[in-house]
């Protein structure tokens, strides 16, 4: 009797774990597939105004501007192709948010075509380079980076 109960509990636990795993995977896939936009996708096939989506791309250099209120930041997110989506965000920027590096913005498209972000996540690239390189001028750093970061297509 006791053994039977134990077996039952184990089977149920295993089933819950498997179903949970499947649901998590499906949830993640759904999130990725229909709610993640690249800038070129957002321009070609924009989501409905007000629908919660994610926008992922690169912060275009020279576009980050602090507004007069001191808390709202505007910048442009670009993708691989020649595309640009203006983004507005009011809040605390993550420490790794920088011009020229990756960003994932969670929010919604406003009627004027600006992406209103509730949350900004900084995306790191696959390169790990010590801080010393940052003190060199850009040309040197690029040279050095090319030598140390092999394998990026």
């Amino acid at each position: 009797m006791k053994a039977k109960h134990q077996r039952l509990v184990l089977v149920v636990l295993a089933l819950i774990a498997l179903v949970g795993a499947g649901l998590l995977a499906a949830y993640a896939l759904r999130n990725q597939a229909s709610y993640f936009y690249l800038p070129e996708q957002m321009q070609a096939d924009p989501p409905q105004v007000g629908q919660a989506v994610r926008l992922g791309g690169m912060v275009a250099p020279g576009t980050v501007e602090m507004q007069a209120d001191g808390i709202t930041v505007t910048f442009t997110v670009t993708g691989r192709e020649d595309s640009a989506v203006p983004v507005r965000f009011a809040g605390i920027l993550p420490d790794l948010f920088q011009e020229g590096s990756g960003v994932v913005a969670e929010g919604r498209l406003a009627a004027d075509g600006t992406f209103e972000a509730d949350k900004l996540l900084a995306k790191h690239d696959e390169n790990y380079v010590p801080r010393e390189l940052q003190d060199m001028d850009e040309h040197q750093a690029a040279e050095m980076a090319r030598e140390t970061t092999i394998g990026i297509e």
């Binding site: 295993a14 998590l24 790990y128």
Partner: protein, 240 residues
């Protein structure tokens, strides 16, 4: 478990290899982590948090390696019926689970200062979480199979099926564009500067030695349990 292959040779080997792996792994890992913690310069963007890589990456690889070991051992067990392979598969489960959990936890701690969030339902993170659940289910299943005297083939089949998740984890950052960066280290190539790469390789070696030692210790414990139970059962039958 009928027809248990004589594990004498395995026990003779594991007798001295288990402490050797654990002790050497301890010292290599300690040296690598000390190196990474104190000697490595901060990363250009991530700053000091880059040091987490020396725990996060080895445990991630071994978490996936653990299930690969389960799958290969399960296949050997199913095809050649070698009972020691079933023990080996079960031996890899606990260290695999622990390293997967350490990988998830350190990744979460790393994500907060670099990405700005503790967790995101990204393909890589989700598939790694699924791996942790698979380990838990596998351990429960293997234990139940032993206790109930059910064939060890059932957990072995589960171990094989669960291996589908490994290539999914591996490819997840390429398939689903999201927060986790693409692989830095692929076949023969690395986008990691030498000052970070050298201690990382040492940490991988050290954690692997520990992993091997724990697998052997688990296998010895499982074997001893099975042998003791078998003897008790035989004695109970003789007494009847």
């Amino acid at each position: 478990m009928h027809g248990f292959a004589n594990p004498k040779r395995f026990l003779a080997l594991a007798g001295w290899l288990t402490p050797l792996l654990l002790v050497s792994g301890f010292f290599v890992t300690a040296a690598a982590l000390y190196w990474g913690f104190t000697q490595v310069p901060p990363d250009r963007l991530m700053g000091e948090t880059v040091r987490i890589i020396f725990i996060h990456v080895p445990t991630a690889w071994l978490g996936m390696g653990g299930w690969t070991a389960i799958a290969i051992s399960s296949l050997v067990f199913l095809v050649w019926r070698h009972p020691l392979a079933a023990i080996a598969a079960r031996g890899a489960a606990v260290p695999g689970l622990v390293f997967t959990l350490v990988c998830l936890a350190t990744g979460s701690i790393w994500g907060r200062p670099t990405w700005g969030t503790w967790w995101v339902w990204d393909g890589r993170l989700t598939s790694m979480l699924v791996l942790a659940f698979l380990y838990i289910a596998y351990i429960a299943l293997a234990q139940a199979a032993q206790r109930e005297g059910v064939s060890a083939r059932i957990p072995a089949i589960f171990g094989l099926i669960g291996a589908i998740n490994i290539p999914i984890i591996n490819r997840s950052v390429v398939w689903w564009n999201s927060l986790h960066q693409p692989p830095s280290i692929t076949m023969g190539k690395s986008a990691i500067d030498g000052v970070f790469l050298a201690p990382l390789l040492f940490a991988v070696i050290g954690f692997s030695l520990i992993f091997g030692g724990v697998v052997l210790a688990r296998m010895r414990a499982l074997l001893a349990d099975i042998q003791a139970d078998a003897r008790l059962r035989r004695r109970a039958m003789e007494a009847d």
